[in-house]
Subunit: 424 residues, 2 copies
């Protein structure tokens, strides 16, 4: 019998409780382990969560769980940094295993938590922290354990994906799409975490540490959100056969690890570009297995609860894992300026002869070679968009070239660019 205490009775806490109560017989039959929900702590124990709890389960005091000698697993679903971190550290010190969905905390201050877990020889399960119900942590840690991971591309923020999907399908602007997402409860009143790529970077930090054994390197993740994406970019992308998605990318290149979050153009024919709405997907390339993809709901009470309970079952079964940082200090995180990528540029040029030649001249000087161009019919005297796709180029060269191009007298507005992934 494994006794479980949940701290935080919000959305995911409710889902986790429901699964533990409703599916406990199934879990026992299937896995041979008995998991019992013993306590739930929350400051608000009055509100109806639609879950019928046995009496005596609810408490307002998290330490009734942390200090309960009968409880084996403490599930932290409070979120945020404080007091969540204290709860986790105290639970570990009391000899409990911990399961958490708290990506922000683990990505930014996980070093201390995983070190304490190791000292106590306890597990910190975090399947629910990345991509909700998709068992991507287990896949990377166990299913693909035999593989050198070549690259991971993730659509792991449902809010951003919903906004981009709406913009793509309906041609509406970012602000309208955001408002729709907020009205549907897909985006917070303060949506910065989601739309600025911060949440995505938290999850990427965990994936990358797992895939490459590196330290948790949240500070080194390059982050660019989706607020600057316009319907016009999306339209041009479509004409070129691409979709724009907010991707989390980590790759091993030249003995360095790339860690980046940014809007990315992906060929429309790729399976991951069809992952729309609030759905999540993680594309993992291994040296043995080749290309694989994992798809499902990245949020919500029951999907995330499914992941929380799978961690509890693993612990109950004695299948203990920690985040092993076996390459801590070995790999350097690649400076974003040294990253090589393909690029999409949208130049806004005055309608003068020789504009294309001037711009492409600067690109050439910076070793940026063009693979496709869209230039619309010219209207006398008006600024016209000139769209250029490139072969692989270095970010540093791109930034230099753009700076130079934006100073050309024929260029009427700041140049926009979006990185492009796919086969060259």
């Amino acid at each position: 019998m494994t006794n479980v205490g949940i701290i935080g009775f919000g959305t995911v806490g409710g889902g986790t409780a429901r699964i533990l109560l409703e599916n406990c017989d199934l879990i026992k039959k299937r896995t041979g382990v008995e998991v019992r929900l013993k306590k739930i702590a929350d400051l608000d124990i009055e509100r109806d969560r639609g879950v019928t709890l046995p009496s005596g389960v609810l408490t307002t005091d998290a330490y009734e769980i942390i200090n309960d000698p009968e409880i084996d697993v403490v599930v932290e679903l409070v979120g945020g940094f404080k007091p969540a971190k204290t709860f986790i550290l105290d639970a570990l010190k009391k000899g409990k295993h911990v399961v958490t969905a708290n990506k922000a905390l683990l990505a930014q201050e996980g070093q201390e938590i995983f070190a304490e877990a190791q000292r106590q020889n306890k597990t910190v399960g975090f399947e629910a922290a990345v991509a909700g119900g998709i068992p991507i942590i287990k896949v990377l840690r166990e299913g693909l354990a035999a593989n050198n991971i070549v690259a991971i591309y993730g659509i792991i923020n449902g809010t951003s994906n919903y906004i981009l999907t709406k913009m793509t399908r309906e041609g509406i602007g970012f602000d309208s799409a955001l408002r729709e997402a907020q009205a549907l409860g897909y985006a917070e009143a303060n949506p910065a975490f989601d739309i600025e790529g911060i949440d995505t970077a938290h999850k990427l930090t965990l994936l990358s540490s797992l895939a490459y054994g590196i330290d948790l390197s949240y500070d080194k993740v390059y982050k660019e959100g989706i607020t600057a994406i316009t319907p016009r970019n999306i339209q041009f992308a479509r004409e070129l056969g691409y979709k724009i998605k907010l991707l989390a990318i980590t790759k091993s290149v030249d003995s360095e690890i790339e860690l980046r979050v940014h809007p990315t153009m992906i060929p429309e024919s790729y399976l991951i570009s069809k992952v729309d709405e609030v759905l999540n997907a993680v594309y993992v390339i291994g040296d043995a297995v080749g290309e694989t993809m994992y798809y499902g709901r990245g949020a919500g009470d029951m999907p995330t609860g499914s992941a929380v309970v799978s961690d509890i079952i693993d612990i109950a079964r004695g299948n203990h894992h920690t985040l092993k940082q076996y390459n801590a200090g070995v790999y350097k995180i690649k400076d974003m300026k040294d990253v090589h990528s393909m690029y999409y540029f949208r130049f806004t040029a005055l309608d003068r002869p020789g504009v294309l030649s001037k711009i492409s001249g600067v690109l050439g000087e910076h070793n940026i070679s063009i693979s496709a161009v869209i230039q619309r019919e010219r209207r006398e005297g008006e600024a016209v968009p000139l769209v250029v796709l490139t072969h692989k180029a270095r970010e540093r060269d791109v930034l230099d070239a753009v700076m130079k191009i934006d100073k050309l007298p024929v260029v009427a507005d700041t140049t926009k660019f979006i990185r492009v992934e796919g086969k060259e």
Copy 2:
């Protein structure tokens, strides 16, 4: 240190050996376990497999592995029924864990193998037996362990998927597509296992036993291959917004389990309908997690080797699992005639007034209600195809209706039907 012996040095044996040799340092760092390839047995130890083995590894005698007291895990990659089964049973009796990719053997005679494994308290790992490199066994057994499985839909035979993809993209017939698949090595000289749905049914048997805890029920799987699919069906499906895929389906409906393999029309907008060529995907719906999908290569030396080695690592880590048939004898496999599905019909009717009314009359009498019709312009005196999509109907009623319709004087040829999945 975990010592491994491989019996069968073919494609997958070669891939497994390569991974064990090339990635052993990575595996040790990542998982803390040391895995050593001690022996490989094959009747042919001369042919070059492109893998450089340490000397003394190769033997022609499988029993040098089975009887080696140092070997902990025996990997059976011989395939087929005999002598593979004897090797596995003897290895278990000698106290070895077994890893195998042999879906035919496990699906048809696995009862005996898993019983022996249980007696010996040993593991039989079979991640490689279903969907190659995709860790779908681990996902069902552990990642989604908290879920009642609502349904599984799998594209799990690369050969059939390649043939259907070719037919769909190029409008060619089944025979030409099969010949292309054979020329590329995607189909065997005798392709029956793949194109008749037998291989798919083997894999479905394993998935379903895992998902529902039922006995291995290969004999009860309804099997229909892809040989009767024509370019015309594919064309009509497209006009209606569907693609045709060979699906393995298992569902829990009214306390019975559906187990069926047949060509299926799926809405073109569904993610799984975009899984083309030789790629595999398994769509799993859980009561908590909702809809998820797992995608990758279902065959090949390295992808399948990746799955074999993940099983070896699990065993080395002490993460032991057996196929627990916790619902053996509890669930009935639903008779195919009691299955409810939507249907696509292609009637070949003479061009006479009242044909549609006669056919739809018979459908109505059998509780089959129509959701869409395509009727082409009539050409006097010629047989015309009449295409009908239905709402959910019972297979038994469909068979009865078709028998009656085929006797109508206005019907010129046998009626073809394809089952349809998707939201009604």
